[in-house]
Each structure stands twice: as C-alpha cells, then as structure tokens.
C-alpha cells in the first residue's frame, strides 16, 4: 500500500519533536519530507546563548544531525524556503522550485524577531537574535568592533548582551520600561538582577525610546539616537524587542491567522489536513515563546497524525530561568498578583536574595525568585500539580527542606556542587555526567535524564537536584505536567485514565486493557504491567484474576529476593506479639533449612534471611505462621506499644487495637506498602507520626493521624479525626485506606495520594459523608474476603508449583 505523504515546513524544535513523537507511535504510516530555510539540521535553539557566551559550540547543540533524517527515511531539504502552498492540489513549492505533494502538512515555521519600524533598521550591523546566522554575525562583529547596543531588556536581550560582553564588547542595553524583564520579574527582583549584571560590566539605559539608527561613513550602523535626543555609539545593534509568529506563508495560503496560525486543541488549523505547532501558533488566544509548551503541542499533534486521536492540548503554564552563568533567577506562573491573590514576600536586598510567592484559593499561582532558586523546581511542581498548600503554608517560603520533605541530598544546591559530586546515590551518577548528557544528548526532561543516565530513576530522592540541573543548563525543566504524564513509554494514557477505563468498561484482564487503550507494545513493560494488575484486582476484587507474571518477583514468590538470589521470610507477628511456641518453631525452621541469618526487623518481627527459593514452601509449611507480606505493596506491619495492659502511663489497650487492625486489614493489596501503628498514650512509643495511619490512645478515646511516611522523605502524619471507640477506629481507618486503594496511583504512598487530593477532599469523603464511609468500609471487607494466605496456598495447596521447582539437565 502506498504510504501517505507528510510534509513539514520548518525544521526547528517544535516540528522535529513532532516527528520524533510520530515515529514512536507510527513509524511506517507516512513518507516524510522536511523543508528547512536554514542550512543546518535540527539544533537546540535555546542553547544559542551559551554558544554566544563561548561556553558551548554549535557542534554541542545539534539535536538531530542529517544522519538521523536518513536513518528514519525522512527526505530533508535544507536551505529551501517554502514560498507557496496550493491547498486545492495539496502541493508546497520552495523558493528553488522544488514541489512536493502532501496528504498531511505540518507548519512549524517558528517566529521572527520583531524589528522596530524606525529609520535605519535595515542598515548593515543591525540584526535580530534568532538563529545560528545571527549568532555567528555577533561573534564576528565582536572580533572587530567595540560598541554594541542591545535593544530590549527581556530574556533574549540580556542573554545576547551577556554573551557580547564576554566576547569583549562594550555593551549597553536599552529598555523602554522602568525595569528589566518586566514580563518575568517584578520591580524588586529586576533591580537586583540589574545590579548583578552591572557588576559584570553591562550598562543599562532604562525608560529610553529609540528614535533612529544612524549610519557611519562606511554605511554600517554607527549610533543609536533616542527620542530625548541623546545618542550612543553602536557598531552592532541587536534588536530583541519581542517575537512575532511567522505566519506569512500560512496567510498567503488563506489559512486563518490572528497573531499566530489559529489551531484547535488537536493542533489542526482551519484546514484539517494542515497542522501547526510551535511558536507560529495561536492556541486559545495564546502564542507561546518557550519550548515546554511546544513539546506538549508536538505530542498531541503526533498523536493525531498517527491516527490515535486521543490527545488534547489545553494550554501550558511556563517557567523561566535566565541562562546567564552566575545569576540565579527563576519565575513561573502569575507573579504580579492583584485582586483575589495573596502574596508571601521575602526580601534581602543586601544579601541579594528576593522571593515572592503568589497564592490564590490555597494554591500556588506564581513565584519569582532571585539569588536563591534552589526551590524553583519544587514551586513549579506545586504550581503545575495545583496542590492545595494550606497545610504547608507556614513553611512554604522557606522551601522544600523546611516542610520535612527531605531527600538524602536535600541540603545540597546543585549549582554549587562540583562535577565529581554524586547526585544520584542509588546509581552512582555524578553531576558532571548528568550535565554532559543534557548537553550532548539534547535532553530536556526529567524522564530523558532518567533514561540516559539512570539518575533519579530508582528511589527518586535526587529528583529535585536533577530538575535544578536541567533548569540551570537549559533554562527550564520541560517535563510534562503530572496530570498529562503517561504511565510509561508503552502508552500515552495516564494512571488516572487507566483506572477510569477499567472501572467504566469493566475490564478484567491486562490484555483487555491494553487492547482497549491501544497499547503500543505487545505486552507492556515492567512499569505498566504491575500497575495495571493492581488496578484490575483493586477495582474488581474476586472477578479480575491476579496475574503473577505481571508482578515484581517479591510479590510473585511471596518473599523478598536478596542480593545473592536467595530470599527472606518474615512471618506475621500480630501487632509485634509472639509467644514461646512460635519462637521455638522459628528456631527449628532455621536449623532444619540451615538459614544463615535471623534478624529482628524495624517492624517488630523476625526476618529469616538467606532461604533458597526451592525451600520456601517447606519453610512456610513448617513455620505454620501467616505471611507477613514484607515483600508486597500490601499491609505490612501494625506496630504497637505495650499500652494500658502493662504500661504505667497507658490510657488505652493499644496492643489489642493493633492486633485487631492487623487482623482486619491483613492481605490487603494497595498502590504501595501500608504501615500502621498504635500507641497507648501521647508518649508515642510506637512512632505513629511516620505511619500511613497512626493512632494515639488518649484518656477520652483515640486520635487518628494519616499520611505519614518514614522512608526516603520523612513526612509527619496529619491529624485526621478523634473518635471514642476502637470500633470507630477500625471503620475510619479502613474507609480511608479503601479510598486510597481505589484512587491511589500505583507506587503512590498515602502521603503522595494525600498531597495530590488534599485533606479537605479526604475529610469530605470519609468524615463528613457517613454513608460513604460505611460503604468504603464494606468494600474493603468484601475485597479482603476473597484474598487467601499466599503461603498456605503455596505450601499446602500446590499453587504455582513451577515457581519453586528447578529443572535439571
């Protein structure tokens, strides 16, 4: 069958990203032809600034060289500008006469620097700042000329000015406003910025209106003249006063444009065969000038071009970082505030630190930071997630490390670290290798870095540092907003979508889900399969069959794999209580199977380490104790203290309540592991403050705390409710955990779920709505009824025998 023809006009960042996404989805659907007006293959335009500053070379910033096009069967026409589109015959024609037919067309023509309509604007020595040619022109000018004037004190203008200064020119920045970067900064932070740039030797002419560019004897520009009559010398004038979407071609073809090529949420223009992406586009009234939104557009356009038809682009929130080495500046969202907004401000002009957070309806709406931008990535994440910040508001200004959200390297500042310092402790990746990979491999997002360097791909506690590195190298971290993030590379669907589809369509097996949601891979991968398996069994208990092959080995073997390939066995000791006959049996088992190590765990029970896999069923049979699920995303331990039965301070029987809770919730699978604790008085010997659910006995009843965590990032549990009786504790705890089981995303612990949905929501579903609470509780009981003790099944009923039997030759 003949393939369809796909033609792309504009070989820039947005366009090529669209092709990359398309090739991932449907590599064989189209014959692809690309036209680029520049003589270069695809490069990382945002890194032109470091090139100008002499920190990188053009070679360093190539994203896709000509070989990439060839390897992917793409016909590439460089140095050819499309001048005509015939929409009736569906043909595009280039300035050299090359004509190509299309079935689908992508317009990705980017934008043009806006050139002020003043006399002299076409003199030699007057340029915009957009591409390699402009950058080369500046580098050449710096070799022979002295005076440079940059018109425009925005992001681009300042980066140009900084580069020219570093190349030895005498640089003045002309700006019409009272302060620099008024679209990204408020006055206070802009003044701090101006001061640091002045310290680097730049000059500023603020509130200046350019009247005319004056030529010298050679015919080249020689001076800039202002409306107030003042004149400054200039051998090079860089206009960086803004960009205009490049719509000339689209307009000439009669495609509707209005400050950009107008597109809908599927990135189609008014001619449905023609798509448009990138800076040339006007989407819902906004034309974007940063890369992050363009990548999201690319993903959606590719999805529709691949005929999957599911993605929608609904607009983006952007963040900015100035790429001038030595200057820390970050801004995101709406930071000007105004009516209906609240502001939190910290200003230390002498120390050169300024921070402003803008809040609306208990959510972060914007942030500006100067001097100390360590928490930029974190604020941006809170902003994109729309997280309710009322519970952390007191500490918000002081940053992530002050809300108890500490990773093991939480105190380090990525920028201040040396290249040899380790960023990712799990995979041993140091700063230098990450920075190198970002530059050389053209990485933009956290996921890219994870894939190419493994940094942040294991425990995740260095994620913040990696985000900072991305921001400092690229001027931003272009990771997708969490709500649009797909489960893994096998699909474009999110966790939320998968959960909903399974529920709404009563899907009962992994192949059904993959079929229904058009998975790209035949059997998924080790990321999506365990997630889908959990969603199926938690949504349809007793109906959806568990798939052992989609479980991580620990849950498949019902024991933890150890580094030498043996396993550990941790039997359940209800509430941490045991007795002499259990201990005797454990000792006998250890002798019989020559178990090398026995250890008391941090969860009040005993671990038998170094058991051979083939011995597991025998060990379980002889122990004759229930599975401790120490290997599962399941109920782990319920830690207790001795409580009122023995302790002279005890107010309640915490041991008994712990045992009851553990017996009631035992065998419960969850998005991640779940740990409980019960203390008999506020002295809190069972450490309930770091548990998924923690309960403290007081004279008049029980206090329940939720969503604590004692692992990678310590999080203190939040007070949820106080109840009178043990029965109520059981009901409220089960209801909260059932809500988490039904709505949590795979690998989200209760703290992450809590942060996503907020305390108000959980209270509303569990506390305020008593009927709903009882239903949740009932659904938990129902789900647990169908679960059996996996050890008994395997030790005594011969379930999945092959798992524990070795073959021989």
């Amino acid at each position: 069958m003949k393939k369809m023809n796909l033609v792309m006009v504009g070989n820039g960042m947005a366009g090529v990203r669209t092709l990359e996404e398309l090739l991932k989805l449907a590599p064989d659907l189209y014959d692809i032809t690309v036209f680029g007006a520049e003589p270069h293959a695809n490069y990382n335009r945002i890194l032109l600034s470091p090139v100008l500053a002499g920190e990188q070379t053009i070679q360093d910033i190539m994203l896709n060289d000509v070989d990439w096009y060839r390897d992917n069967g793409i016909t590439l026409h460089l140095n050819k500008k499309i001048t005509h589109i015939n929409r009736k015959q569906r043909v595009v024609t280039a300035d050299d006469g090359t004509a190509v037919e299309y079935d689908r067309l992508i317009l990705a023509t980017g934008s043009n620097p806006f050139i002020l309509p003043i006399p002299g604007n076409d003199l030699p020595g007057v340029i915009g700042y957009r591409d390699i040619a402009d950058t080369d022109a500046m580098i050449d000018a710096a070799k022979v000329y002295k005076h440079a004037v940059v018109i425009g004190g925005g992001l681009l203008g300042l980066e140009a000015a900084n580069g020219l200064k570093l190349r030895g020119m005498d640089v003045s920045v002309v700006h019409i406003n009272e302060w620099l970067m008024e679209r990204q900064l408020d006055k206070s932070s802009a003044k701090l910025l101006q001061k640091s740039l002045e310290d680097k030797g730049l000059k500023f002419l603020l509130k200046k209106n350019t009247a005319e560019l004056v030529s010298g004897e050679s015919g080249r520009v020689a001076a800039v003249k202002f409306k107030d009559g003042e004149t400054v010398p200039a051998d090079l004038v860089v206009m960086a006063v803004g960009i205009r979407p490049n719509t000339a071609l689209a307009e000439s073809a009669g495609i509707h444009c209005n400050r950009g090529i107008v597109v809908n949420d599927t990135m189609q223009t008014y001619d449905p065969r023609i798509y448009a992406v990138g800076e040339c586009v006007n989407h819902r009234g906004t034309a974007y000038g940063l890369v992050a939104p363009l990548f999201e557009m690319a993903k959606v356009a590719a999805n529709h071009l691949a005929e999957f038809g599911i993605g929608r682009y609904t607009g983006s929130v952007t963040s900015t970082k100035l790429k001038v080495t030595g200057i820390d500046l970050f801004s995101a969202g709406n930071f000007t505030g105004g009516e209906g907004y609240e502001e939190i401000l910290m200003s230390d002009p002498v120390g050169g630190v300024y921070k402003k957070l803008v809040i609306q309806d208990n959510k972060l709406a914007g942030a500006v930071m100067y001097g100390d931008t360590v928490d930029g990535a974190w604020y941006f994440q809170l902003l994109r997630e729309g997280r309710n910040i009322s519970d952390i508001r007191d500490h918000l200004m002081f940053g992530q490390s002050h809300v108890g959200d500490l990773g093991h390297t939480g105190h380090n500042r990525a920028a201040a670290m040396t290249d040899e310092m380790e960023i990712c402790g799990c995979n041993g990746v140091c700063k230098g290798s990450i920075v190198k990979a970002i530059k050389e491999k053209g990485l933009f997002t956290l996921e890219d870095v994870r894939k190419h360097t493994k940094a942040s791909s294991s425990c995740g506690s260095c994620t913040g540092l990696v985000e900072q590195l991305l921001a400092s190298v690229l001027g931003g971290d272009y990771s997708e907003a969490p709500k649009t993030k797909s489960i893994c590379g096998c699909t474009d669907h999110t966790h939320a979508e998968a959960r909903a589809v399974i529920r709404d369509n009563k899907l009962l097996s992994i192949p059904e889900v993959m079929d229904f949601m058009e998975w790209r891979t035949p059997n998924g991968c080790s990321t999506c399969r365990p997630a889908l398996n959990y969603y199926l069994i938690s949504t349809w208990p007793g109906e959806a069959a568990d798939d052992p092959q989609s479980r991580f080995i620990n849950e498949r073997a019902h024991a933890n794999i150890q580094k030498d390939g043996t396993y550990s066995v941790i039997p359940r000791m209800w509430g941490g209580q045991t007795n002499s006959s259990e201990l005797r049996r454990i000792a006998d088992v250890a002798d019989k199977y020559a178990i090398p190590t026995m250890k008391v765990t941090g969860g009040q029970r005993i671990d038998l380490l170094g058991v051979k896999k083939e011995d597991l069923p025998g060990v379980w049979a002889d122990l004759d104790m229930p599975s401790g699920h120490a290997y599962g995303k399941a109920l782990r331990t319920v830690k207790t203290c001795v409580g009122s039965e023995w302790c002279r301070f005890g107010t309640q029987d915490s041991t008994q309540l712990g045992v009851d809770l553990e017996k009631a919730l035992w065998k419960m699978w969850a998005p991640h592991k779940v740990k409980l604790a019960v203390s008999g008085c506020p002295r809190n010997c069972a450490e309930v403050a770091i548990k998924d659910v923690g309960i403290i006995g007081v004279d008049s009843g029980w206090e329940i705390y939720i969503a604590g965590n004692g692992g990678i990032k310590t999080e203190v549990a939040h007070f949820f409710v106080k109840v009178k009786t043990a029965e109520e504790v059981m009901e409220y705890t089960a209801a909260f955990l059932q809500l988490y089981r039904e709505e949590g995303f795979y690998l989200e612990r209760t703290v992450h779920y809590f942060n996503r949905v907020g305390m108000d929501y959980i209270k509303q579903r569990v506390l305020e709505d008593a009927a709903n609470r009882r239903e949740l509780h009932a659904r938990m009981i129902f789900a647990l009824q169908v679960e059996k003790d996996p050890w008994v099944e395997r030790a005594k009923e011969g379930v999945l025998k092959h798992e524990f039997e070795m073959l021989t030759v």
Binding site: H452, K454, N523, C525, S526, P548, Q549, K563, G565, L807
Partner: protein
C-alpha cells in the same frame, strides 16, 4: 559440537515467564514470550549477576529484578544506557512441544 538435552514441555514454562535449569555451567534461564518463542540465557545479569529468570518478561526483553536493567532475550545485550551482555544458549521447541537446550554451545556473546 552441539549437545541437545530435553528440558521440559512448553506448558511447563509460564507465558511471559521463565524456568531455571540447574546445569554444570551454572543456572540457565529459559524464557517464554507472549507468542511462545523460547530463549535461553545464563541466569546472570551483566550488571551485578542478578538472576534474570526472576525478572518481568515483556516483548523480547526481561527486566532484571535487582536494579531494573533491561536485557534482550535474543541477544543477551543490555539496553542503553546500560552496557553488557549475558551469554545466550541455543534452545528449540519440537512439534510435540518439548523444549530442547544445547548445553554445549554457548552462542558467543552476541555483538551489540
């Protein structure tokens, strides 16, 4: 020289799973893919020796249970950015559904 040995029947290997064969050369993992292809690798991850037989099988890869490297079943090669190879062995299934392993011939470490 080949030396084919009878191992088990195809049914005895779970689909998208593996069995371990104890042999004089150490443990060998026999994998079965979703469309019933069978592959054999030394049960030794090129990273730190993790037992590949215990990993999750998808397409023609297995994810090592230890630190998540992805190993190609047909080549034994680790997927980028990781580098390394597990050695492969010849394996075949006859019409009767019996799985045979050539224990003599290690299909040399395949080029990446």
């Amino acid at each position: 020289m080949s030396e084919w040995k009878k191992i088990c029947t195809l049914d005895e290997i779970p689909s998208l799973g593996a069995r371990v064969v104890k042999s004089a050369q150490g443990d060998i993992a026999i994998f079965r893919t979703g469309n019933d292809e069978v592959f054999a690798l030394h049960d030794h991850c090129p990273h730190k020796g993790g037992p590949l037989s215990q990993g999750i099988v998808a397409g023609k890869t297995v994810t090592c249970p230890m630190h998540g490297w992805k190993i190609g079943l047909d080549s034994g090669a680790a997927e980028a950015p990781d580098e390394g190879h597990a050695s492969c062995l010849q394996v075949k299934v006859d019409e009767a559904g019996v799985v045979w392993l050539d224990i003599k011939q290690i299909v040399a470490v395949c080029a990446a």
